[in-house]
């Protein structure tokens, strides 16, 4: 039987960045299977899939669907060939309803007028057929990320996609939403559809995929049945060297309190209370993990501590100094550093070069300016030093950063924030969307700074990351700290219960 999809000898060279993103790649998927396409950031996975979906035209190569050569030069061609794609960053119209989004371009209409009832009915029928309940009349802007993804999947199914491409589908989901997604993926495969899963989370591959193809530097370096390989083998293949998946760390030796948060009240963007009375302490030489399902106030709490969000009441102290109303600059000058959640818009300015990105937290330090003039020579030296020290590949001083991979971009942020040996670091999702090699590096860097006596506040939605790095873990639920775990109490089960809103006295007390 012919493969549901076969891509032969696909080559694509990006002239603007001189990158050979796809080098004579062969890739095939069988019907009714889940095929994982794995690789580090910048390995060429997304490029390959964008070629399949007609978003990028390859320099050479053929695409065969069910054994027939097809020509795909535009997403319309892809849709006609029953290929659907759910992008990492959803392409939905926020102000439209679910039904309007799903039926966009294929609206049932009479004499040019859209029939709303028929539109909603069609979506309702579709969602029942696939067991993906949605309310067609809700607006996309009001939906959770997981729900939006479901709408994207339904949108592809409405167009009868036989091959469904999911680009990093779990990157933005909560653990529960990930579970639900797995069920959906499996059901679609059982119906005879092919699901291509672009990912760099290896656990995910083992859990859900049937086959996998590993890419590195624009080339396929291996393809096999998932049952024949281990996580470690995949990781080594992806990175091209031996990878240490566990972090080696000594017990912490906490010192004095560096950051103290007292009875904090903070509102979210809509003015609703997001943090309702949080008390926290982070000490020298320890990593305090902040665990929780995303959207429980982590963002607001971190922004309040970092100084980019107004505090309604309560206090934040850094080394006994009240910094509740201090500017970001003051806080940074008092040795606070911050690795933000979103490196693309907050952590970096992709419109400028690496030098200016690195100096943003230091440009008014004496060594980098002379009166009103910036000392660009010194700044370049700093950039050069950090690129070497942190082994930021492909980065060149004075050059733009928009073509760098996620892992390298994150390294730039980490390098900048650690410069000047801060006494307190906020690390918010420090490895989100980052490849295995960089994760390993960033984790080790955080441990090293902890050992050097820095206080670290680590926020992550990845429980494994929290458990691997933290000395103590605070669990946040609906804007409150449900409890702080350490030592023997610190395990996945207890954390999971607290994250779901259980009371700490009930659980910890019961296990004692």
């Amino acid at each position: 039987m012919a493969s549901a999809l076969e891509m032969r000898g696909i080559t694509k060279f990006f002239a603007s960045s001189s990158v050979l993103a796809s080098n004579n790649v062969d890739f095939s998927v069988q019907a009714g299977t889940v095929h994982a396409l794995v690789g580090e950031n910048g390995a060429g996975k997304t490029t390959l899939m964008n070629i399949l979906y007609g978003l990028i035209s390859p320099d050479s190569g053929d695409i065969l669907i069910d054994g027939q050569t097809v020509k795909i030069t535009h997403p319309d061609d892809a849709i006609r060939n029953k290929i659907g794609m759910v992008h990492q960053h959803f392409k939905l119209v926020p102000s439209f309803t679910i039904a309007e989004n799903i039926m966009l371009g294929i609206e049932p209409s009479q004499m040019g007028f859209i029939n709303r009832t028929q539109e909603a009915d069609a979506v309702r029928k579709l969602s029942e057929e696939f067991g993906l309940p949605v309310d067609p009349t809700l607006r996309v802007q009001d939906l959770s990320v997981g729900m939006q993804q479901r709408v994207e999947i339904l949108k592809s199914l409405q167009r009868d996609a036989r091959i469904l491409i999911l680009d990093e589908p779990t990157a933005v989901l909560t653990p529960q939403e990930v579970r639900e997604l797995y069920v959906i993926i499996r059901r679609l495969a059982d119906e005879g559809r092919s699901v291509i899963l672009i990912t760099h989370k290896l656990i995910e591959v083992i859990e859900i995929a049937d086959h996998l193809t590993v890419m590195r530097r624009g080339q396929v370096v291996g393809t096999d049945d998932v049952k024949n390989v281990t996580v470690k083998e995949i990781a080594n293949l992806m990175v091209g060297r031996e990878v240490i998946l566990t972090v080696d760390r000594k017990p912490a030796t906490p010192g004095q309190v560096v950051l103290k948060v007292e009875k904090l009240l903070v509102a979210d963007n809509n003015g609703l209370p997001a943090i309702t009375g949080v008390d926290l302490e982070v000490r020298e030489g320890e990593i305090l993990g902040l665990a929780g399902v995303s959207g429980n106030g982590q963002t607001e709490l971190i922004e309040a501590i970092a100084g980019t969000r107004q505090i309604d009441s309560g206090h934040v102290y850094l080394f006994d100094t009240d910094i509740t109303t201090s500017t970001v600059k003051t806080r940074r000058n008092k040795s606070m550093a911050h690795i933000p959640e979103d490196r693309m818009t907050t952590g970096l300015n992709l419109r400028t070069n690496i030098d200016e990105n690195i100096v943003v937290t230091m440009y008014d330090h004496d060594e980098y300016h002379n009166g009103n003039l910036l000392r660009y020579g010194k700044i370049r030296d700093l950039a050069r030093t950090l690129i070497q020290k942190f082994n930021i590949k492909s980065a060149q001083v004075g050059e733009g950063i928009s073509t760098l991979s996620g892992g390298n971009l994150q390294k730039i942020v980490v390098a900048r924030e650690l410069e000047g040996n801060p006494k307190f670091i906020i690390a918010n999702q420090p490895t989100r969307g980052v490849d295995v090699g960089s994760i390993e590096f960033i984790h080790q860097t955080l441990i090293d700074t902890r050992d050097a006596g820095t206080a670290v506040l680590l926020v992550s939605v990845e429980l494994d990351e929290i458990l691997a790095l933290s000395d103590r873990v605070a669990v946040i639920y609906e804007g409150q700290i449900m409890g702080i775990l350490e030592g023997d109490d610190l395990n996945k089960e207890t954390l999971g219960l607290l994250m779901a809103g259980a009371n700490i006295d009930d659980i910890v007390g019961a296990t004692l």
Partner: protein
């Protein structure tokens, strides 16, 4: 190598755009029943040529019959200044455009799409005019001088220095204040700067129209106009002083203004690309979250940029009055210098050098298109040609893609791997 390729590309794109603009507009030229090549040659000769310029080749080398000997002599056209050069006129008209384009660029470079240049410019112009005639008159009154021409020597030089300086400063402060309003509204009340500057422009234009027609009206001339500025406030053109012997300048009112524009260009470049404040404002542009996160006082950067932007537009108004117009006439307010400046800033992609090139081209083409009507060519044709050239210039990204594709066809891919770092 890479840089060279970049430079060639940067220059070939506008050239292609201009040629395509001309090709597209030849349709209308033919429709008007005139020869396209002749029309275009005339357009460019009138805008940038020397005496005797007839064809495109004459823009570089021109053959002129010597009146005494009757022999034809070849001259290098850009420097051949006999009976004045069109380029001097183009530069004269480009001066305020360059200043307003710089003004727009400073605002754009903090992420404020301010198009309030026209309002700031006319208010600056009015202030410069009033200081330009009222202040010298007051001084003459205090000093008891009955005939201004009696003032000579040191007092004259002092006045020639201080009065223009004061007039320019007044105009710059006025422009800065007017621009600050839009910045303040943006920060405190989140009023969209596009809307506020459009409204502020309308207010300023009407207000200045009123001033010219009533309180400041000097005579019963058909078109309302103010008094003429005193000679001590006048930034005398090169053709009347300093370079009066050089023919190249004759017939134009090109003067100190262009020098001021060049100095401002350099200052703004240094400000944007070399100072802390410039860094702060560039980081605020389009990456506000990043700026705030890094500890950059973004709101202060916005206010500062708006003040500088307004001051530059006010300066443009002052330079135009003190150097060219010498009085403010009804209609000046709606001449659109500010808006053309915005257009130039966008076409030049906010590059300072680009502003000077585009500004001069723009002014030259405008003069050329107006002068077309002195031949048999309809006047409207000139504006259409300019519009089409601008349209094609704005297709830059398309051309860039095109060039890349052609280049790739001729130089196939070599062994380039994605991780092209030095340590490999």
């Amino acid at each position: 190598m890479k840089r060279l390729r970049q430079i060639i590309e940067d220059f070939s794109i506008p050239t292609i755009a201009v040629i395509l603009g001309l090709v597209a507009s030849s349709f209308f030229v033919v429709l008007a029943g005139v020869s396209p090549t002749e029309t275009f040659a005339r357009l460019f000769c009138e805008g940038f040529g020397s005496r005797g310029c007839e064809t495109f080749g004459d823009l570089l080398f021109v053959e002129i019959e010597d009146e005494d000997t009757g022999l034809f002599v070849t001259h290098f056209a850009p420097t051949y200044g006999d009976r004045g050069h069109a380029l001097a006129l183009a530069l004269e008209q480009a001066t305020p455009l360059i200043l307003t384009a710089l003004s727009a660029t400073v605002a754009f470079k903090v992420g404020m799409f301010s198009i309030g240049m026209d309002g700031q410019l006319v208010l600056g112009a009015v202030v410069a005019t009033v200081i330009g005639y009222a202040l010298p008159n007051q001084i003459y009154l205090w000093a008891g001088v009955e005939d201004p021409e009696m003032v000579v020597g040191l007092p004259l030089i002092m006045m020639q220095i201080f009065i223009p300086t004061l007039a320019i400063s007044g105009a710059m402060i006025t422009g800065a204040f007017y621009s600050w309003i839009a910045g303040f509204l943006k920060i405190k009340l989140n009023v969209n700067e596009l809307i506020s500057t459009i409204v502020l422009n309308a207010i300023a234009v009407q207000f200045v129209g009123y001033l010219i027609n009533f309180p400041l009206r000097a005579d019963l001339n058909n078109v309302g106009r103010s008094e003429r500025i005193d000679d001590t406030a006048w930034l005398i053109p090169f053709s009347r002083a300093i370079f009066e012997d050089i023919d190249w300048f004759s017939g134009s009112r090109l003067g100190i203004g262009i020098v001021i524009a060049v100095i401002m260009g350099i200052i703004i470049w240094v400000f944007l690309w070399r100072t802390k404040a410039g860094y702060e404002q560039r980081m605020t542009q389009g990456a506000r979250k990043f700026a705030v996160f890094g500890g950059i006082p973004a709101e202060r950067a916005i206010i500062r940029a708006m003040l500088i932007s307004g001051a530059l537009s006010g300066l443009a108004g002052a330079v135009q009055i003190l150097g060219v117009e010498r009085r403010i006439v009804d209609g000046f307010a709606s001449s659109g210098i500010g808006f053309d400046g915005v257009l130039i800033a966008i076409l030049a992609k906010e590059s300072i050098l680009g502003i000077f090139i585009v500004g001069t081209l723009f002014a030259g083409l405008k003069i050329g298109s107006i002068n077309l009507q002195f031949g048999d060519i309809p006047r409207q044709l000139g504006s259409m040609i300019i519009a089409l050239i601008i349209l094609f210039t704005s297709m830059e990204d398309f051309f860039r893609d095109w060039i890349t594709r052609i280049r790739l066809r001729f130089s196939p891919i070599r062994d380039v791997t994605p991780e092209k770092s030095k340590d490999v």
